[in-house]
Amino acid sequence: MNLVSVGISHLTAAVEIRERMWLSEEELRRAVTKIKEQFYPECMLVSTCNRTELYGIEGKVGVDAREVTEFLIEFKNAGDAVRTDHFQEWKSDEAVEHLFRVVSGIESQVVGDIQILNQVKEAFALARESHTLGPVMNRLMQTTLHVGKRTRSETGIGEGAVSVSYAAVELAGKIFADLSRKSSLLIGAGETGELTLKHLLGKGIGQVFIANRTREKAEALTRQFGGTVVDFENVADAIRNVDIVIASVNSPTYVVLPEHVHKVMKQRSNNPLLIIDIAVPRNVDPASKKIENVFLYDIDSLSGVVDRNVEERKSEIPKVESIVQEELQEFLRWVGSLEVGPAIQQFHDLLESIRHQEVEKNIHRFKPEDRELVDLVTRRILNKVLHTPATVLKQESEEGKEETMARVKALRDLFGFSDNGKDRHGA
């Protein structure tokens, strides 16, 4: 397997280094086209906030991975910050395994990151559009995406929110059946509050209200996210009409008190109310939590949820690794089957040319009536000699035995076969 991968990631470089190697879509198109011309006949590039990685199939001529790395650094004009030792290199089976691990999310900074699957999918799509995928990379793409989907459907690697803002949204999904029929109120304009609102909008929340001490800031947010501005003084009343409250105001005292919540709950016929208090100091008096059908969470309780989810995801890594190994063996079996057939054919052609030459050279020594028989007998000898190794190699390839590739390589090396189907003898 002549797959090579070089890449920079959060494991080898800090963000200020990684960001220099990030490629836009247009840069990705240009880069893969150049890489195809200069280094690998089949290739693709993945570039995310945490990694930039190149996967390529070597052609007839071997490529020094260092040269490819230098090309990438030069392409991004990042030589002043990025060094070649910021990059890692994987070859052959290891490169395939690495790609499978990446797409599964177990190599991500946030274990089980769901975005990486889409990012790899986009990278493959872009390479295909740029005509840099060949048969092997195409098959690798299908298998890689299959691995990504399998690990997410068969393990819990992507389950549970791993950010405070997303944990809040996940909670909302566990309380309410249909978020499009619910409304939310954002009090304050903190970063996490905005992010939570963004996630809620992503989940299709019905209505959005925004209240802030500085009305202009609230208006700016409604321009960004849509929704309606609510006067900060009327926040307690506004809670009556919403199902989810996200509080992130910078305030030394509580903005929402239990008596407010009590009153509001009566007015709203005891409809469930989710309050996400991500402000420090807290905006909502924690005593409100005791009120029936009120679900109040502060930053600590949400962080606790996130920590537990991260631990649970980590405990799923062995299951993911087992899927990766299973799919890796399957893929290598396929690659093996690709290489066994041509190798056997080349071996047969070589022996046949030798037989033919020797028969031609010596045929005059036989009586004319025996010459046909000589040809037939030598052919039979050749076929019998070839039968066992050809059968064993095919069988091993079908069974996916690891030593098959080594045997094919040995055969190629010993008899001097090249990738273009010619041997050193010119056959």
Partner: protein
């Protein structure tokens, strides 16, 4: 006058033709070994079913998850054979004693669950709902006995409607209670921020409440129909009929309890935890009515 005559003739229609008692005993003797085996097998089969659903819910065992659907279908078929065998052997459908009703209820709950699973593709409430079916089947198998001779009034078509409505009502109420129970468990986990299996596997609170409420409405309507038919039919059939029979009073109290709960939800917007607690209390009364009152206190409305 004509409609009254029709109604009276309707009340007299037998549910099954009354056959010769000698022939009935012969049928019973022939089918008894099968009935006895199935009577013991049914709780074991339901236990296996609950185990399969439990293994998936608590341990995520893949083998069990593949087994669930075929197992529930097979068990329902076997249950059908069991009920059919009882009907043929004793020449009456299994609706004449509380234990016969309980095995019908178990089958009815399992069938209702299979329908829910098919419609929602959610298998995560199966363990809890089917546990209830298992409990009913255990009680039934322990207490059930052969009734080769039953009073003539138990052959009435009206009894069939009465029992079918009551059965549907009790099934729906049982489901409502299970959903209520699941709601309270999930509510507790969400409130206490101790997110575990219940949090991860169950549908959201609002969905559980909707399912509980819908089951409750269906149960209430069915019970209303069952009670209405009963009130028309019972005084005609039983000479010792009394409106003060403990079972009638108990059933009426349950009906009133559900009526109050549903009206309060509609009028005062009662919902969430409070409604779910009420649902469980009401189900407690239903269970009490089906067991203690039916078995030990009722004078005429008990056929065991």
């Amino acid at each position: 006058m004509r409609s009254t005559a029709f109604f009276h003739s309707f009340l007299e229609i037998p549910i099954l033709p009354v056959s010769n008692p000698v022939l009935r005993r012969k049928h019973a003797m022939e089918m008894k070994p099968l009935i006895d085996v199935l009577s013991i097998a049914m709780p074991i089969l339901y236990a296996l079913l609950v185990l399969a659903y439990g293994l998936v819910f608590f341990r995520d065992v893949e083998f069990a998850s593949r087994l669930q659907r075929p197992l529930i279908v097979v068990i329902l078929l076997v249950h059908g054979i069991y009920l059919g065998a009882r009907t043929i052997a004793f020449q009456h459908p299994p609706i004449t004693s509380v234990f016969e009703i309980m095995t019908l209820l178990a089958a009815s709950i399992a069938a209702a669950y299979l329908y829910i699973e098919w419609r929602t593709t959610s298998r995560n409430t199966g363990f809890f709902i089917l546990s209830l079916a298992f409990a009913f089947q255990v009680v039934s198998s322990v207490g059930i006995h052969d009734m080769t001779t039953i009073p003539e009034y138990l052959h009435s078509m009206v009894l069939g409607f009465h029992v079918s409505a009551a059965l549907l009502g009790y099934t729906a109420i049982s489901l409502s209670a299970v959903y209520g129970f699941l709601y309270l468990m999930l509510y507790h986990e969400i409130k206490s921020t101790r997110f575990g299996l219940i949090y991860n596997r169950l549908p959201n609170l609002e969905m559980l409440e909707i399912m509980s409420h819908k089951s409750e409405v269906l149960g209430f309507i069915s019970l209303t129909v069952a009670i209405t038919i009963g009130l028309i039919w019972l005084p005609r059939v039983f000479k010792d009929f009394s409106y003060f029979d403990p079972k009638l009073l108990g059933t009426f109290a349950i009906w009133v309890l559900y009526a109050i709960g549903l009206s309060a939800k509609r009028k005062f917007g009662w919902q969430g935890r409070k409604m779910m607690v009420l649902t469980l209390i009401a189900f407690g009364f239903v269970f009490l009515s089906m067991t203690v009152i039916n078995l030990y206190l009722s004078r005429f409305h008990s056929f065991h």
